[in-house]
């Protein structure tokens, strides 16, 4: 049955952000026919905008649905999202200001631009660009799942193609304002979305425990419910499973800022200081994610019963909140899908335009041609994601997104080490990347596309995140092949980067184009 009040609130909020998305084109008005403006918002976002933008970008609707779903279905394992999103920021604090500075100095838009400039290697550039595209596509598709589950919970169902019409409408709107406004649209919408999410979560963690008899009771009830599952879970990770838990957290943390959409957010900052400050402020979102994770236990304690674990939180909200607030909460989740989907499609468009189209098809492209190609690519990417969700079983998208994290981690040596040293030979890095991709994919596939691979060494079994094992293989190959490549006198191409280009010069960095 359709809940009229919830649906009305939902639609009003959705329309509001739609207007905002189109209005964003006028914000800090500039020539949107340059990729720097369309794809990076002119690199002039300050601390607060970047906080909202990266918060909306990294903590996606899929995360908000999938993490509590995992807690609901499997218990404490799902809480790895918290150590994961803690460990990101100390690393970001050190590494990202250097990436920002060098990309700003050379007007680079994508991580593959940096790799090309640093190593002068087209194959390495293409490897980084294609890995980014491959990792981003299923991630965009999964954002739609967030919209789907709230629509389903509100009772909007249909048969055949009619079932997908609301989703298609939402995505057409998203595609239209991303096309016209570029990165400004998600930046502006993120402010609304995150405000709604914070309100929802704060209300949820106060109201629901009050109704359920406090956190002590919630944890006890969750433990009892998990122990009764066909595959029993627990609210504390078992010592034997800690290797998997910790490596999943660390590997995911290492991978996050290699995703093209994360780097797009970072590069849109006004200066490197904005990034440093956000390394201290963004953990506020991790705190919220930790609380959202606990919603999975609250659903268990409330006796929510569903075979589809991703419905656990929407059903919990529906059981606990008045209709109008259900509308607010569901709008927060659905809008929460639009922001990352927009940034991801922009990031994918930037990659395709700069590192595939301009490099191989039209090297003489002007700025406005570049931006035109990127706009069209962002549409194609979104249509692709939509088709993926409508026509292909959801499990494929989930498997591919999982592989995406594993794949993107294999670009770490080329990007992160490249910020510090030119010791590695480009061909050795390429070989390491290839080995990492193959080894990681094979490991995941052998486990039926699970993240954890039980490695047998020295007569013992070491279960850990396959992406980390693949990265180790990658690093070993890159390190061993570098002296080999040099001994064979394989040429090292010129390096466009000077040591000083990594210095961000603190606060006095001026934007490329004056505001």
């Amino acid at each position: 049955m359709i809940d009229g009040v919830a649906l009305t609130v939902f639609i009003v909020l959705f329309l509001f952000v739609t207007v905002l998305g189109f209005y964003a084109a006028r914000w800090n008005r500039a020539d949107l026919s340059s990729l720097n403006e369309w794809g990076l918002g002119g690199r002039r976002f300050g601390t607060i905008i970047v906080w909202f933008l990266l918060g909306g970008d990294l903590y996606t609707a899929y995360t908000f649905i999938a993490v509590p779903a995992l807690m609901f279905g499997a218990g404490a394992t799902g809480f790895f999202a918290v150590p994961y999103t803690i460990m990101i920021y100390p690393m970001a604090m050190i590494v990202l200001p250097r990436l920002w500075a060098v990309c700003h100095r050379h007007n680079w838009i994508t991580p593959a631009d940096f790799v090309h400039g640093r190593y002068g290697s087209r194959s390495l550039e293409l490897a980084v660009a294609l890995t980014g595209l491959l990792a981003t596509m299923p991630y965009i598709a999964l954002q739609l799942v967030g919209i789907q589950v709230v629509l389903a919970t509100m009772g909007i169902t249909g048969t055949g193609i009619m079932a997908d019409v609301p989703l298609i409408v939402a995505f057409v709107i998203l595609a239209a304002y991303t096309y016209t406004s570029g990165l400004r649209a998600p930046a502006m919408i993120a402010i609304v979305k995150d405000t709604l999410i914070y309100i929802t979560v704060i209300v949820a963690v106060i109201v629901i425990p009050m109704k359920l008899g406090g956190f002590g009771h919630i944890f006890a009830a969750a433990q009892a419910a998990l122990a009764a599952h066909p595959k029993p879970g627990s609210i504390v990770v078992a010592p034997a499973a800690f290797g998997a838990y910790a490596s999943l957290a660390l590997g995911s943390a290492l991978a996050l800022f290699l995703y093209p959409h994360s780097i797009t957010g970072v590069l849109s900052s006004r200066n490197a200081d904005v990034i440093r400050r956000n390394a201290a402020f963004l953990p506020a979102y991790s705190l919220m994610l930790g609380l959202i994770a606990l919603l999975g236990y609250m659903a268990l304690a409330a006796g929510i019963s569903t075979k589809t674990t991703s419905l656990a939180v929407p059903l919990l909200f529906k059981a606990m909140f008045p209709s109008w607030f259900v509308g607010v909460a569901f709008a927060a989740i659905a809008i929460g899908a639009l922001v990352p989907a927009a940034i991801m499609s922009i990031a994918a468009a930037n990659l395709f335009t700069r590192n595939v189209w301009v490099r191989y098809v039209r090297p003489a492209a002007t700025e406005s041609e570049e931006s035109g190609i990127a706009k069209v690519t962002s549409l194609v990417v979104k249509v692709g994601a939509l088709a993926f969700i409508i026509f292909i079983p959801l499990q494929y998208a989930i498997n591919l997104q999982l592989l995406g994290g594993l794949w993107i981690l294999q670009t770490l040596p080329a990007i992160v080490f490249g910020l510090y040293t030119r010791w590695f030979h480009a061909r050795a890095l390429f070989a390491g990347w290839l080995v990492g991709m193959v080894v990681g994919t094979a490991m995941a596939a052998s486990q039926g596309f699970a993240s954890i691979y039980p490695l047998h060494v020295f007569g013992a079994v070491w279960p850990a995140y396959a992406a980390v094992y693949a990265l180790i293989a990658n690093l070993v190959v890159a390190a061993v092949f570098t002296p080999v490549c040099d001994a064979l006198r394989l040429p090292r191409a010129g390096d466009a980067v000077n040591a000083g280009d990594f210095e961000d010069r603190g606060l006095d960095t001026v934007p490329l184009t004056a505001p």
């Binding site: 918290v82 100390p90 604090m93 944890f219 390394a279 201290a280 705190l287």
Partner: protein, 60 residues
């Protein structure tokens, strides 16, 4: 690089050592496993802020 950056190792040690796989002592209804990780989260953010303030280049 400033020595202040060594502070950023703290969250990694705190989270990658298997010292929090237990329910007791609980705090405010939260088993140890949960409140410990929430505590590391807050300490980590504060340390990051301290490192930022200590290493910031002042505008000319």
């Amino acid at each position: 690089m400033s020595r202040w950056y060594w502070l950023l190792i703290v969250p990694f040690v705190a989270l990658l050592a298997p010292v929090y796989l237990k329910t007791e002592p609980a705090l405010g209804g939260f088993p140890f496993f949960y409140w410990y990780q929430f505590a590391v989260l807050i300490v980590s953010a504060v340390l990051t802020w301290i490192v930022y303030r200590a290493t910031r280049e002042t505008p000319q």
